[in-house]
């Protein structure tokens, strides 16, 4: 039995199709990311899996249970941080953990949980006085109280500063190392690349791509390209003297040559040298996840703040 099996899931809000025929599975011990812009349907999908929302149609099994009808028993086995996690203002993280332990009727070592989420120093601070990152960590701590093997993290780092984000990543990696299965939603490509074994890119209620980030880039990216800074004349020369496909980007004064094989680059460079014309910087590059993301997701994505480094090689003549 897979921890999560979602088949043809649908959910409408009035005429809006928030989730429109989504299917995927998550394996044990896997970190699975739902990546997409705001309004893509990530939170609706994850909340349906958590049993916080009812679905319109489709089949959802979480640990073999229907999350809506068996929510009460499912909740004892899973850990969840809802988006923008908040808690009672005048309660400290340690008290919150003990409160949850009482509710779940289990004994826990609060210190150990606090250590797992890197929150020992703020154990006695009232929730209202915690920083944004510490608040999320409190949420993480609470989601661990019932020692679940399956965790749902809904945008665990949205709105946090870069250091706080990295600290949360640290915690998530630690949980993965302990063999927990984790589903997370995120707006951030780097987060998906850093944490997830597999990613599903969502847009307008659909999954538009799914797999490891490498697989997605391979399937939806345009492959390796050679670009040479130079004139239209040079582009025409290369085109005339090789068998390569040559595009010219007038705006950037760039000659763009898709490479089927690495050796094609040599042919292009040899032709350029032969032409006797001037040429500048050359580089080869491959589509990154964000190139693919921008290509797949139809609306402009405002929330993506940090873009991952491009895979870049360059030479100077």
């Amino acid at each position: 039995m897979l921890p999560i099996e979602v088949t043809s899931l649908q959910k409408n809000y009035g005429s809006l199709k928030a989730v429109d025929g989504v299917s995927f599975t998550v394996k044990e011990g896997e970190v699975f990311g739902l990546l997409g812009p705001n309004g893509a349907g990530k939170t609706t999908t994850i909340e349906i899996m958590e049993g916080l929302r009812e679905r319109d149609s489709g089949d959802v099994k979480v640990l073999g249970l229907d999350p809506w009808t068996n929510g009460y028993s499912l909740h004892k086995k899973i850990g969840v941080i809802p988006q923008e996690f908040t808690f009672m203002e005048k309660t400290t993280p340690r008290e919150a953990i003990n409160y949850y332990a009482d509710l779940f009727n289990i004994k826990v070592n609060a210190d150990e949980i606090l250590k797992d989420v890197l929150l020992e120093e703020s154990a006695k601070t009232h929730f209202e006085n915690l920083s944004g990152g510490q608040k999320r960590k409190t949420g993480l701590a609470l989601s661990l109280v019932n020692s679940p093997d399956l965790l749902f993290l809904d945008e665990p780092t949205t709105g946090l500063d870069p250091n706080a984000r990295r600290a949360i990543w640290e915690v998530v990696r630690g949980l993965k190392a302990k063999g927990k299965t984790i589903i997370l939603t995120t707006l951030y490509l780097d987060e998906a690349q850093q944490l997830c074994d597999r990613v599903a890119i969502m847009d307008h209620g659909h999954i538009v791509a799914m797999g490891t980030t490498e697989e997605i880039i391979q399937q939806h990216g345009s492959g390796e390209r050679l670009t040479i800074h130079g004139s239209q004349q040079l582009a025409d020369y290369i085109k005339g003297n090789t068998e390569l496909l040559v595009d010219y980007d007038t705006a950037k004064s760039e000659i763009v040559i898709p490479l089927k094989k690495k050796i094609d680059a040599l042919a292009a460079l040899a032709a350029a040298e032969q032409s006797g014309l001037d040429w500048g910087e050359i580089q080869t590059r491959q589509d990154s996840l964000d190139d693919v993301f921008v290509k797949l997701v139809s609306e402009p994505v405002e929330e993506v703040e940090t873009l991952p480094e491009q895979k870049k090689k360059s030479w100077r003549r």
């Binding site: 916080l52 908040t86 009482d102």
Partner: protein, 375 residues
């Protein structure tokens, strides 16, 4: 299955948070005591001693030197209800009253002694303001003494030694006289039973909904009925603490006479339960905290003033008294008054029954309509 352990866990976290919030504690416990101190001080004792009254004695007296006008004023002074301040007979009396911001005055005319001695009618002028309660006291007292003097005249004239036929002995309905503060204590206990849980639960339930804390709690084994029950228990505890404080202040500061017995317990338990559930209901059926606040006020304010909290219901027009019967708080204040002031246990039992039914209905509605999750 309702779990006492979970209710206790939630109670612990909630009460600790409440006690750490000085603002909530102030409104829950200190504010009602301050109200008792303020209202008790304003109406303390009911009357403020004899009424000051200015008197101008123009009486020239009898040739023998006897001045009956003076004797009349002395008698008034000894009554204890008025204190006579004599004013020089040459002064313009109405101007004098105005200058001293007083509307109460008496003029004894020049011919008072001679007329009285010869049995001719004579007029005492009493100045007063019909809207002021002191004027009634002054004219009543003067009237009484004038009758006494008249009777005395005839007794002497006919050598009649018959004692007065009608005399009055003072008595009141209750064994002890009911003072305003006696009424105020049950009223203000009712006030705090209403406001503290009601405002709190309206606020908490709408805020928890807005910031998704309910969603968060729905992921634990805690049920919504357990959640509401723990809040009710906390407000019962708070109400009893407030009750003891208010009764203590009433008795020790203002010498209030209120009866304390087991008949009070149902009101101190059902009251907070009812208004915690009602607050929850308002917070649940409204869209956001702002709307919840407005609806909460619309529900709360009429009860605050019209259910016999600050003013006795009997001092209100009939239509308001009828209206009060649809306000749930009415049955709390009436019941508390029945037990603490009138000792009317039959009446209190009816109030408990009505209150029990209302509480049950509101509780069931609140739990039914309240959603942890969304669909």
């Amino acid at each position: 299955m309702v779990s006492g352990k979970r209710i206790y866990a939630d109670f612990k976290v909630f009460s600790r948070g409440y006690l750490r919030n000085k603002f909530g504690l102030f409104f829950g416990l200190i504010f009602p005591v301050i109200l008792i101190l303020i209202f008790g001080a304003i109406f303390a004792g009911g009357s403020s001693g004899p009424v000051n009254v200015y008197a101008q004695n123009q009486d020239t007296g009898l040739p023998t030197g006897i001045n009956i006008g003076s004797s009349f004023l002395e008698s008034l002074n000894e009554s204890g209800t008025v204190r006579v301040i004599t004013v020089d007979s040459t002064i313009n009396f109405t101007k004098y009253l105005a200058d001293h911001s007083s509307s109460d005055g008496i003029i004894i005319p020049a011919s008072f002694s001679t007329s009285y001695a010869s049995g001719q009618s004579v007029n005492i002028t009493v100045y007063g303001n019909p809207t002021s309660s002191t004027s009634g006291i002054v004219s009543g007292t003067v009237n009484g003494y004038a009758n006494g003097f008249n009777l005395n005249y005839f007794q002497r004239k006919y050598n009649d030694s018959t004692p007065a036929i009608i005399s009055i002995t003072g008595a009141t309905v209750n064994t002890q006289q009911t003072k305003y503060v006696d009424f105020l204590i049950p009223g203000l206990i009712g006030f705090s039973i209403l406001t503290s849980p009601m405002f709190s639960l309206v606020n908490i339930s709408s805020e928890y909904k807005k910031n998704k804390l309910f969603k968060q709690l729905s992921l634990t084994p805690l049920t919504k009925m357990e959640w509401l029950t723990s809040k009710m228990i906390w407000y019962i505890v708070l109400t009893i603490a407030g009750f003891l404080l208010m009764v203590g202040v009433g008795i020790f500061v203002f010498g209030a006479h209120v009866a304390l017995n087991v008949g009070l317990i149902p009101f101190l338990v059902l009251g907070p339960m009812l208004f915690a559930a009602l607050g929850m209901l308002v917070g649940t059926v409204t869209k956001n905290p702002e709307t919840a606040g407005v609806i909460g006020n619309i529900v709360t304010f009429p009860m605050m003033f019209l259910a016999g909290t600050f003013f006795p219901l009997s001092s209100m027009p009939q239509y308001l008294q009828t209206f009060a019967h649809v306000l749930p708080l009415f049955y709390v204040t009436e019941g508390l008054n029945n037990v603490m002031v009138y000792g009317n246990m039959t009446g209190a039992l009816i109030d408990i029954a009505v209150l029990g039914v209302i509480t049950l209905v509101i509780f069931v509605l609140a739990v039914k309509l309240f959603k942890w999750r969304e669909d």
